[in-house]
């Protein structure tokens, strides 16, 4: 049985990693927040404004496969608890923090085609330019991307990330059905195609394809998988912690988060906070 689980993990490892940007994909619930009190009435007494009760309209994503999704959700929960979390714990224990940070930086640096291509597809050439600048600075001054000197250059600090699912959202494509993918977790039809795009655009995954058959080539995507697990587990915990119904909590967080990512695809004006998803040095 243990061997079976191990095989499963090994088979899934490159999948898990391919989405280092997908790791960021927490649930995205389209939160429709209307302002019914926009008539200017002073909300002095909270008990009185019954009209406001519906302002947090329920997030909508079609979930016709809920039964299957719930099954996969709990299967994943088991895999996280008995396999991925222990792996992540060992990694956190034996690898010192500066090295982990360096690896995170390096893998994110290498994944720059994902961001450049998607900024371009979103029609945001300035951001594609910033990404290219960031890549050049970090790959050279930052010693192969292990450090992020770009954070000290105002023009290159805090460039919002970009991914393929976000590009689809920017193009006006809806989620389609909600899907819980084995191991990868919350997704949708649109975001699953997005994952595939991110996977194909991430050079980390090219090595195995180009030099297939050599065992060492697996080290690159596998390291990426392992180094991304602590962050992924943290996000999972944040999404379902203290939930009344963890499945719905994860779905809601996924839809909301992806809606936020889609909003970030639209260039923001002055005065709005832009947030990069990548870690600082």
């Amino acid at each position: 049985m243990k061997i079976l689980i191990l095989l499963l993990a090994v088979a899934a490892a490159p999948l898990l990693t391919s989405c280092s940007s997908a790791a960021k994909k927490q649930p995205d619930v389209a939160v429709a927040i209307s302002d019914k009190s926009g008539d200017g009435k002073a909300v002095a007494d909270v008990g009185a404004d019954d009209d406001d009760l519906d302002e947090y309209a329920v997030v909508s994503i079609a979930d016709p496969l809920e039964k299957v999704n719930r099954g996969t959700f709990w299967l994943n929960h088991g895999i996280y608890t008995y396999l991925i979390r222990p792996v992540s714990k060992v990694y956190r224990t034996i690898v010192p923090k500066p090295v982990r940070q360096g690896l995170d930086n390096a893998y994110q640096n290498v994944a720059f085609p994902v961001r450049v291509v998607n900024h371009t597809l979103q029609g945001n050439l300035p951001r594609a330019g910033q990404e290219t600048g960031k890549f050049l600075v970090n790959s050279t001054v930052g010693v192969g991307g292990f450090m992020r000197p770009s954070d000290r250059i105002p023009a290159l600090a805090n460039v919002p990330s970009a991914d393929t699912g976000q590009t689809f959202a920017r193009w006006g494509i809806g989620h389609g059905y909600y899907l819980v993918l084995p191991i990868l977790g919350p997704s949708s039809v649109r975001e699953t195609v997005g994952y595939a795009g991110d996977y194909a655009l991430n050079p980390v995954n090219w090595v195995t394809i180009l030099y297939g058959g050599y065992a060492w080539t697996l080290a690159i995507p596998y390291t990426n998988t392992v180094r991304s697990t602590p962050g992924q587990m943290d996000q999972y915990d944040a999404a379902i912690g203290n939930a009344v119904d963890p499945y719905l909590a994860a779905r809601s967080s996924f839809v909301q988060y992806r809606a936020e990512v889609a909003r970030r695809a639209i260039p923001v004006g002055a005065g709005t906070v832009t947030v990069s998803e990548a870690p600082a040095p």
Partner: protein
Amino acid sequence: MNLRPLLALIPFLLLPAAVASTADAEKRLKVAVNDVLAIAKRSSSGKALAEGLRPVLGKYLSFEAMTRRAVGPGWRQFSPAQQKKATGLFTTLVIRTYSDKFTPGQDPVVEFGKAVTPAAGRVEVPTTVLYQGSRYSVVYRLEQTGGWRITDIVIEGVSLIANYRTQFDSQFKQGGADAVLSALTKSVATP
């Protein structure tokens, strides 16, 4: 006499009041955030942190408004006793969820953005939190409820209240107020 030109002046007369009020909300939030950060910094364990935060959050958050919004229109079908019970239970969940975001002894840096006023009596303050080498967007929603109080915290686009709303809605559809209360009780009992 034609009063219309004077009417046009009314918004300008009201403007300083609105500006002052937004500034009040921002000031209030800054005090709240500083209080929370001070507690997070000096707490030695997660449990001590949650206990230390309880009175502070009670001062700055409106748990009543948060519970009402999280339950949604079904709230009107709760009896006053059920409303009170739900608020008590949800308060514990909110405090726990919020405390879980901090690691004792860590010192996040919070940058405040420009506040927006989506409606009268409401203010949204965007902040950026630098924490353990990453940046997060955290938006605080405040409401004027006899003083400015925090009614929602939106982390990386995920609203705490909207997240619970989805869950409570499904419970309410299945079994009304009783189902919501029993689900809440169960969740509070699970550490």
